[in-house]
Symmetry: C2
DNA sequence: TTGATATCATTTGCATACGAATGAATTTGG
DNA sequence: CCAAATTCATTCGTATGCAAATGATATCAA
């Protein structure tokens, strides 16, 4: 092997082939597909609610009445997005809105009785959705995956 | 401990506490957040193109001219979505459309010279985006994570 | 106290994302 | 060969998701 060959190999090893970019192997692309698959599984099991809508209801069940903005922070939605989600839940009678007595900027959100019933009814299905999403992995793999995924999120 | 206590424990063990559903630990919720983080990193490095738009360009670079539908399959977008993406790329002169000579249903998509230049220029940035997205993980963790994520997608 | 800042909510505009319906063209099966 | 099924593309409606601008209110600091 000549010295030039060694140099070439070295360069290739340090600077991965310019012509070789595999979209299918990029984490962003696979993350997008994995998310799509999960949403699809969700829709198959819970047809009348989207994952963000369910997230809002589940979080309200946890924390009780909160401001719209605070809820958005808790479920990772910006103000514009959370407004749309809450509007639709309100239109369906699953949440109710009220004004904060002291801080007049805040819009308080809470579950209605119907909303609470809905969450309680859906939580078992949500557990199944989680299971089905993770079904391609073994129990051990699931533990590893969830740990690493949490680091990325 | 009474027999009733034992029964209670057994039931709790089989049927995980009804009142204990933690949204923050569900794979779908974390997957959504990880995806959001990636999109945010992407936008910070490549301001004038979205991840789906870049995916279309990168895939066209790989496979050359294809039908709009086929491209959608390759980058995991349904027909309605891919149409919008291609329309916007076309409006910016990055791809060009033509009709398939034989099969008149098909709309062929290809990179323009400008589109090809853009992809080549952006691929190094895309590599950096992948790296930054995975930065919270060690090299070993990255290998593990990508293997498991691929199984889920 | 008041002027600068910060926070909360809303609105607009743009870009995925997908189900469902439609129309045109092709392929398949009898 | 021809009717049925399939494929490709488009359109419509609905739902995130985010940046940027705006207005109202609250907090902070000089």
């Amino acid at each position: 092997m000549s010295g030039e060959d060694n140099l070439l190999k070295l360069v290739e090893a340090e600077e991965p082939d310019e012509n070789d970019y595999r979209l299918q192997e990029q984490v962003g692309f696979i993350l997008r597909k994995a998310h799509q698959r999960h949403v699809s599984i969700f829709a198959a099991r819970i047809a009348d609610l989207t994952p963000p809508q369910f997230a809002a209801l589940a979080k309200l069940r946890d924390v009780g009445e909160t401001s719209q903005n605070q809820l958005g922070t808790l479920i990772a939605m910006d103000a514009a997005t959370v407004k749309g989600v809450i509007d639709r839940l309100k239109a369906r009678g699953l949440v109710e809105l009220s004004k904060h007595e002291v801080d007049k900027r805040r819009l308080l959100v809470n579950l209605t009785a119907e909303g609470r019933d809905a969450v309680e009814r859906l939580i078992p299905l949500a557990r199944e959705i989680t299971q089905e999403t993770l079904a391609p992995l073994s129990a051990k793999e699931i533990a590893t995956f969830m740990k690493l995924l949490a680091k990325l999120a």
